[in-house]
């Protein structure tokens, strides 16, 4: 065995050493595994001293291969590759054995864990012998960035990048940017007006020279990879020429068709068939909703067209597909509100005066359907008492186990607004109060002082069935007050349900388009939950805002800015190194059977008609290895995941399993003397 292998086993403090006899595994590897020149254990290999240890050994002992048994390669493979490269060893001559996530953290018995560690090390040692030096491929980074979602997180990301001088495509599916924040009246805990702080940012986006704003548009498809994505964006027919429209609003005024606005007004108000969701919309250009427009319904009307002073209405517009080339993509697709009908005992949809938090937000908003007045569903009566129900669909194993994070503060804000606007009695039924950020606790104390009434208990039911005369005509909130230790029935005029913050209903499909996945709860999965919450497992795809998990405005803004900073860094560097894990076809062995041809979803395999062989286009190849596994002639090799590497790893992992069971032909004794006479 010509290779000189260094084996490094990490204690990771007690993370590994607590369950694994690291010294024993190291000793065993050094004494038993072929090719191992040095085997060492170390407290924290990822520390600079640990890396230096590996680097020095490579140089002093002429190591040609390195095995690091430590945490998951997803965490520190880059670190140790760099350590190898610093010592002049090609970084692909490293193999990691994942003995923390896959062994020490999941195994009870120390003995079993140590044995498993030995196997994983044996597998890595056997595999690394077959590693070949590889060079990452530099790829230029297209300076354009695609931001999906024009809520506050997407707006922030777009502005940060554009202000740095980098061009941005901002895609929003609704007619205007602004997202959920544009629906709110006040924001907690400072109570500043949402519109006052949001609209300047929105108009900045609308006017920015580096931002190409694509509203009423949706992402169709993404191909390519980091540095060079190609995105297809569906520009839904607006039936209004964006170049010509001045946003005067005359068409909206004159449109005879009024429909309930289920999106922006959360069903609380109306809009026209031609509309902008709200007065401060960016862009100001309206859209015609063909589902409600009289022309599309029965080929009559066209009032807007007749009255438009600039002839901007175009009923013949079709959806268009815009193809853009971008280097990176930021997803800031936001959230959807839990469908409160799913909890029938809370009465939403059945009992008129049960509202969702979004409905209530619209009601509070001065430009909303009630002009900011808090009233019952009849539109006139002010409530004398209101109960806010927390954790509707959150912290509930039937719906969402997680805490939606923002509802406690939302409830406090609403409590304040109700008290201010109506003087009604306000109850909040909560499981735990969690006002856990800067100035939040103070806001809670303020509401306590303002007289908001807090009942600690999960609401069992909201009903209109009275048991006593005072309950007549009221909504009764049935709740166990766990501080008093007794059941309470609270009669109120209005109930507001703090519905859970949920992932967008179509997030899974969106994720698939860009190659990222969702957690059990539905949120997009970040590269690392603590150290890299904005990157994803797919290089060049970032996530910001509530699509990564429930978030309030400051956190969404911070994440938007952070994602932009990551992208800006990449653009300013100009190139990105991509893994050279690609397939190659040995044309001598290829018989041109063409079985591999339709296996590649990236069309990376071409059949050369003249030579009668297939060839892999390395630029398009993403390295999945499916064609390698499929080639009947074994003519395709997968770099860094070659058949011999994997088979060597299998043998190494099964070092203790008895192997072939038969002596090799060469080991056989000579025939008896008589036979050789």
């Amino acid at each position: 065995m010509a290779e000189r292998i260094g084996v490094y086993v990490c204690h990771c403090g007690s993370n590994i050493a607590g369950t694994v006899d690291v010294e024993e595994a190291t000793r065993w590897a050094g004494e038993n595994l072929p090719g191992v020149a040095i085997a060492r254990d170390y407290k924290f290999l990822c520390s600079s001293l640990g890396q230096a240890l590996i680097r020095d050994d490579i140089q002093e002992h002429g190591l040609t291969r390195v095995v690091v048994a430590a945490c998951s390669p997803h965490l520190h493979e880059k670190t140790f590759r760099r350590a190898c490269a610093n010592a002049g060893l090609n970084s692909f001559l490293l193999q990691m054995a994942n003995i923390r996530e896959h062994v020490s953290w999941v195994t009870r018995s120390k003995e079993a864990a140590t044995e498993k560690v030995k196997s994983l090390i044996a597998g890595a040692v056997a595999r690394v012998q077959h590693h070949r030096p590889l060079e990452p491929t530099p790829v230029p980074v297209n300076p354009h960035t695609l931001v999906i979602g024009g809520g506050i997180a997407g707006i922030q990301a777009a502005l940060e990048l554009a202000d740095a001088g980098y061009p941005v495509y901002l895609v929003e599916r609704e007619p205007s940017i602004g997202g959920h924040m544009a629906q709110f009246d006040k924001t907690f805990p400072t109570l500043d007006c949402a519109a006052c702080i949001l609209t300047p940012k929105m108009s900045e986006v609308g006017q920015h020279e580096h931002i190409k704003l694509l509203t009423w548009s949706e992402l169709e498809e993404v191909s390519g990879s980091i540095g060079n994505f190609k995105a297809r964006i569906r520009r839904k027919a607006r039936y209004v020429k964006e170049e010509t429209c001045t946003g005067c609003g005359l068409c909206i005024e004159k449109c005879p068709r009024k429909v309930v606005d289920e999106v922006f007004e959360a069903g609380m108000g109306y809009r026209k068939a031609i509309y902008t969701p709200f007065p401060q919309a960016v862009p100001k250009i309206p859209v015609i909703d063909p589902k409600s427009c009289i022309w599309f319904e029965r080929q009559r009307c066209r009032a807007c067209e007749k009255l438009c002073p600039t002839n901007a209405i175009d009923f013949d517009q079709q959806d268009e597909i815009l193809e853009v080339d971008v280097g990176n993509i930021i997803l800031a697709t936001g959230w959807d509100l839990f469908d409160c009908r799913r909890i029938p005992q809370y009465g939403y949809g059945r009992l008129a005066n049960v509202f969702t938090s979004l409905e209530f937000e619209r009601m509070c908003n001065a430009s909303g359907p009630t002009g900011g007045r808090v009233v019952l569903r009849d539109g006139v009566t002010e409530p004398e008492s209101v109960c806010i129900v927390h954790c509707v669909g959150s912290r509930d194993s039937h719906y969402n186990p997680y805490c939606s994070g923002i509802c406690c503060m939302l409830s406090l804000k609403m409590g304040h607004l109700i008290l201010e606007k109506t003087g009604a009695k306000v109850y909040a039924c909560y499981i735990d109060m969690r006002p856990n950020k800067k100035d939040y606790e103070e806001f809670y104390q303020r509401l306590l002082e303002e007289g908001m009434l807090f009942v600690r208990g999960k609401v069992a039911e909201v009903t209109d069935v009275a048991r006593t005369p005072p309950e007549e005509g009221k909504l009764i909130v049935q709740v166990e007050d766990t501080l008093l230790g007794k059941q309470r029935r609270i009669p109120v005029d209005m109930v507001v349900l703090m519905g859970a913050i949920e992932q967008r209903r179509d997030a899974r499909e969106t994720g698939l388009k860009v190659g990222i996945s969702c957690s059990m709860a539905g949120w997009f999965i970040e590269r690392h939950p603590k150290l890299d919450p904005i990157a994803t497992m797919t290089e060049g795809i970032f996530i910001a805002g509530a699509c990564q998990g429930p978030k309030d405005i400051p956190d969404a803004v911070a994440q938007g800015a952070a994602a932009a900073a990551r992208v800006a860094g990449m653009i300013s560097k100009g190139t990105v190194m991509i893994e050279p894990v690609v397939a190659t076809i040995d044309e001598e062995k290829c018989s041109g059977c063409r079985i591999c041809n339709n296996l590649c979803p990236f069309n990376a395999i071409d059949f050369l008609d003249d030579e009668k062989v297939s060839r892999v286009n390395a630029v398009l190849c993403k390295g999945c290895g499916t064609c390698v596994a499929a080639c009947p002639a074994a003519a395709i090799t997968g770099a860094h995941f070659s058949t011999e590497q994997v088979e060597a790893e299998i043998d190494g992992l099964l070092w203790d399993a008895g192997g072939d069971g038969e002596p090799a032909p060469t080991d056989q004794p000579e025939l008896a003397p008589a036979a050789t006479e």
Binding site: W105, T107, S109, L512, S517, A521, G661, A675
Partner: protein, 164 residues
């Protein structure tokens, strides 16, 4: 008595994007499960060559666990469907060779499903305990091989004497 249990050796082929991360996630969450699976990381379950499975069984594994992204959620768009086809082809062949698909399993696990993956491992280990070791090398041993060969040598020695 606990130590007397049969501990099956299982080789795992896990997709880098989903199941390998799920196993990482199980680790981070400290979910305890049977230590019997030795995992090989591949970029995609589509890289699993039937010969890897055969090699593992021939080299002494009692079982093989292939884990990939859920159908429709492949990181490489649709390659796990190719895994599905290959797996069906392989298990039908293995059945004809007397090897049950209980030993060679294909499971889908997204990156979020660490707990489910750990449970699938536990379940497989328990099932293999019932099924018993595969121990392929024993299957190739000729019981009377040495004696038979001795016999031949002896016979030829005698034959030589007769010719003299």
């Amino acid at each position: 008595m606990e130590r007397e249990r049969f501990e099956p050796r299982i080789i795992g082929f896990f997709c880098n994007w989903c199941s390998y991360r799920a196993a990482d996630g199980a680790g981070t969450a400290r979910v305890k499960y049977a230590p019997n699976v030795r995992v090989i990381r591949l970029m995609c379950s589509g890289r699993v060559d039937p010969s890897f499975v055969l090699k593992a069984l021939a080299s002494g594994a009692d079982g093989v666990l292939i884990a990939g992204c859920h159908p429709g959620e492949c990181h490489y768009i649709e390659q796990n469907y190719k895994t599905m086809r290959r797996y069906a082809m392989l298990t039908q062949t293995l059945r004809a060779l007397g090897i049950s698909e209980r030993r060679v399993r294909l499971v889908w696990a997204s990156a979020a499903e660490g707990t489910q993956l750990a449970a699938a491992v536990d379940e497989m280990v328990e099932d293999l305990r019932l099924l018993g070791p595969l121990h392929w090398s024993a299957n190739l041993r000729e019981e009377d091989h040495e004696a038979a060969f001795e016999h031949i040598l002896h016979e030829h020695e005698q034959a030589m004497e007769v010719t003299r």
